[in-house]
Amino acid sequence: MRIRMIVLAAVACIGALFVATAHAATTYHLAAQRLNEDSFDNYDFNSASVSSSNVDWPVGLFFYNNAEVEKIKAGLSQSYFYPGDTQNGRLDNSFGWFFDDDGGRKTRVCSVGNYDDHYRIYADPDHGNRNWTAGVGFYVIGTTHVDGNECGGGTAYFGFSEPAEDRLGSVARSVTNWTVYDDNYAMNNYEAYRAEGNHWWLNNGNATMFRLP
């Protein structure tokens, strides 16, 4: 038993050496966004705790009309195939706030001397991974960012949400009947270009909308 624990600890240490993670970050723009009877926070969080010093990335993706978490992942799977680390989104689907955790999908397993794009999407897990309002139908919110040199090959860096959002929009345009509206939803989460450790902020405050038929 003890040997197994030591082996597990060693594996964890080696993993920690090779796989870098983004530093915790702080924002001045964390705010609940109202959507008809529903609400959601405009950042996701490192843990299931709402704090402006516990944020990960700004919400920049808004899937609507006929969205659902697994449908989105299936639709984008040609480019975004690999799983990522879990973070937490907070929503109120008309019956109280809840956290949804998601590891999302990445374009590479773990970047070495390069970068990959990574998105996470959040909805109500107790109601089939979707939210619904009469205003926009079935909707799902999400964040996206770049993971750079995550497994070595240079200094690790994370962030640049805006260009990652643009690239995800381009991928989504190739999915049959999906319509993409770039930077079309004011999320009130503008982040000027700056770094907090290896956490690089860059976000114009307007989410890209994806209309699923």
Partner: protein, 328 residues
Amino acid sequence: MRLAQRATLACAALLLLSGTAAGAKRSIRPLKGDVRVTSSRPQGKKDHQVAQIERTFQLPPDAKQGPEDWYSLDLDLELLAPRTDRDRLIYVTGSTNGRASVQIKVKVPQRGSARPTEWSAFGLIDGLTRGASSANRFEISARNYLQFKGVRPGENRLEIGIEQYGELAQDRVRIFKSSRITGGMPGPARVSVRANTLSITIRDDRVTVPVTVTNRGGRAAQHVRVVPEVDPTVLEPVGPQGTLRLEPGETAVRRLVMRAKRSDGKTVVHIRAASDLATDVDVISLALPASSDESSSLSLRVILTAAVFIPAGLVLMRRRRVRRQPTR
């Protein structure tokens, strides 16, 4: 003769009223008979395909979604979804004017799996509904409200479609003619919560906040929980929080008890009432006593008294000013 005429007129008026009043359900069946939608045979390396049917239906010239009179879509269908070499994901969607109302998600396990085919739908009428079948062919019924832009006066379009992602196969949906648009539906439950700030009491370290919860919607609000969201370093909720069922228009009063951990200054409490399908929040500011002695209770009373009497005084002064205005 005159009496008979009056009676006829009264009956006609009653019939007219009953036909137009909000709350009188009206069903429209856009399908003349059962309709089949078949996804095309997969070709090439496609990993996503869509097939759908469209029908038109008429709504009154003043038709709109809510706030009193709501429209819904009921979908009754049979799905034939064969198993293949990999797990599959299918969505059957009912939309009006391109706006999704009913979304049925079907997970078909791979051939030979012991798992059943599972489906689920979510809407604001029934919440989450789900089912499972070990057969390839099974029936599903699901309903939901239409979207705001899914209702328009005059001609409307009903679309029922099937989408496949990942492994593709030839799926068939038979939509029964019983599928329908219904008008005159009561709207979703809408819970409102207000703290009765004048009745807040603080004795020793116990803070008691009476709250009034009302269902202002058209449907019963189920499993309503009234919860204080507090700064955990300042206050701690005490006692179990039960759930309520509120019929449309019904009001209930609950007393929220919290223990003060710290006794200095003000703290903000969010009082949240949440049911299965509705929520509301009231925010109050509590002035906690500097200590548990009488003077601290007094300070709270002073603040609350000021909160009541200052606005009341302003109203009285305004009324007096109005009265003193000379008449011309």
